[in-house]
Symmetry: C2
Subunit: 358 residues, 2 copies
């Protein structure tokens, strides 16, 4: 019994291996970088056994077979958790990338991202027509663009997932669409639930306090919690070191602190970090992956290698043990000296990953 | 028997009084102008016994009770055909104008007009929520805005009419929406069917030749032919006199010339200038209104008081006789000395116009 055990009552909870459906890997399409490996390592240490890598990176996007190959090569340098790759729609690559559909997990249609914008209704429709029917499509469309792509998805009878929803207007629109039977799902960046423009005035990629309140009110509409690129963008905005792992370790302690405070249930978290991601993105169940968390013991977050806006704040949950492929890989926050055993799961549904790479 | 009768075989056709669903009245919301009267006179001479006045004018828009009153006063100066007025949505007048709904024929939600733009999904939804359920809503939204408003109309279970459709992309989107059972209707400006950017390079409010071809290919998707503000805009663009009657007299001779050439049937025209406008905008049937046209006799269009881009071109149809309230008002292109007997029909469906004005 350590002295900490006397501080307060607490509980230990088991969770299955979690999924980050929007992992931001800055150097994804640069040759010979370890960013994907580093992100996978921080992810598994934080309880994520599967990451879906966003195809939009700091150095470019996966938009064709060539950029996809670079990301795949980076994946072969070894990952500490499973991952899958996606591909980004442009105004004119609909036909071309449909040939690569078997090698990626999903199609991303960007409206607001670092990459080139697709604003043309015709271009979006070309993608809906070319992309395999059962393969997921994700978008970051907002306001009138969001309404637009929801209509086009509906007209083409496609499911669509809206990523990083941040405003009252957008979450309400998605709620209404769901109510009317549209096949739409969405995620919210975890940082959006805990940080707002009230904390960081002028930071346009954070919600306003009113938007943030609306996100919490529409919890039932939020299918998935994600990490996304928001932590990286915030670090950059605040001129803090943009470590590739920024924001990953904060995810679960933040959400489970809300559990400790009665704002969320453990089931709310498990549904949005495991059950729904698996279902929406048709992911393998990962046998032998799981974690143990401790809830209800308050502590002050200490500075670590990665910058965090929550350093110095009181949190009430910690990840204590992470198991991947039936092996303990992280204990009390420290990675054990295990080799990277994660796989590129992008081809799941087509054929086993190994055969595709052969 | 006049000498003209020997030139070629021809046929005389009777049509019911026609409807221009988008009449542009430049001075609509200026005090004490005769623009509405002048437009009504040119309209009845051209075969239109009913005009739906666009609430967006050269000098401002009808956006509140005050501007509506000015337009109503202008209407009382006497009109030569029946008319109704509409009101324009702004970002924040949804509640206010719902109180004026009984006094106008429809709500116009502008995206691309001279007035202020409504781009916010929330503002459009506020209008859908506030505007009486059975009253028509019209929009000029294009591309992604068009897709957006179609979704919102669908989610709110509202009919919507899209005015002055001009591109291949938009007409295809509307065709797809109709195919999927959406309650959407549309009109095309008659000038868009006969003039393109090939004729007037750089004229952005005319369709490209490719767009124009798509409009003709999607004739089944076009519910209504309209006049709209396009003739006025074109005159302005070409630095021609912007007579308020510009484009009105050209409408029927152009369409019936296409009948003479086998590109349209008389029924195609009647459906789009009478039957569908009545049904979509829930208009009174006008007893004692009608016209007689002569088709198949070619003639060269001569210059008149109003500038026309078709002057000097060969047309094959003329309006010969127009009857309004059982009285001949126009004969062989000359107005007879009749008093203005048209009424403000805006309140139809609520209560008779006279009672509402008392
Ligand atoms: Zn091919
Ligand atoms: Zn299509
Ligand atoms: Zn599982
Ligand atoms: Zn598999
Ligand atoms: Zn009121
Ligand atoms: Zn609503
Ligand atoms: Zn009739
Ligand atoms: Zn009536």
């Amino acid at each position: 019994i350590s002295p900490r055990d006397y501080q307060t009552s607490h509980r230990t909870i088991q969770l299955p291996g979690l999924v980050n459906i929007a992992a931001f890997v800055p150097g994804l399409v640069s040759r010979d970088t370890d960013d994907l490996q580093s992100v996978s390592k921080a992810s598994v240490a934080a309880g994520f056994s599967m990451i879906r890598v966003m195809p939009v990176a700091k150095d470019g996007s996966i938009t064709d077979v060539k950029s996809l190959k670079i990301a795949q090569q980076n994946g072969k340098r070894g990952a500490y958790c499973d991952f899958n790759l996606s591909i980004t729609a442009t105004s004119d690559n609909a036909h071309q990338i449909s040939h690569a559909a078997g090698e990626v997990g999903s199609l991303f249609i960007p409206f607001n991202h670092l990459s080139d914008n697709i604003s043309k209704v015709a271009a979006v429709q070309a993608h809906f027509d070319a992309w395999p029917t059962h393969k997921p499509i994700i978008t970051d469309a907002r306001t009138t663009d969001l309404a637009s792509i929801l209509l086009l998805a509906n007209l083409h009878n496609r499911r669509i997932h809206v990523t990083a929803v941040m405003t009252k207007e957008d979450i309400k629109l998605i709620a209404l669409g769901k109510e009317k039977g549209m096949k739409v799902t969405c995620d919210v960046s975890i940082y959006s639930l805990y940080l707002s423009q009230k904390d960081y005035p002028g930071c346009q990629f954070l919600p306003t306090a009113e938007d943030q309140a609306a996100l919490w009110e529409h919890l039932d509409t939020i299918d998935v919690f994600s990490i996304g690129s928001l932590p990286y963008q915030l670090a950059h905005f605040l001129k803090q070191p943009t470590d590739v792992a920024v924001g990953i370790a904060d995810a679960l302690p933040l959400l489970l602190t809300s559990v400790a405070e009665g704002k969320l249930t453990v089931e709310d978290v498990k549904t949005r970090l495991h059950d729904n991601p698996k279902e929406i993105f048709e992911l393998h169940d990962q046998v032998g992956a799981g974690l143990e968390v401790e809830i209800d013991r308050p502590y002050t977050l200490k500075a670590t290698g990665s910058w965090s806006p929550f350093t110095g704040k009181v949190l009430k949950a910690t990840v204590q043990r992470v198991v991947f492929q039936d092996q303990v890989v992280c204990l009390d926050g420290s990675m054990l000296p295990v080799p990277p055993k994660g796989s590129d799961m992008s081809t799941h549904g087509a054929m086993p990953a190994m055969a595709a790479m052969a």
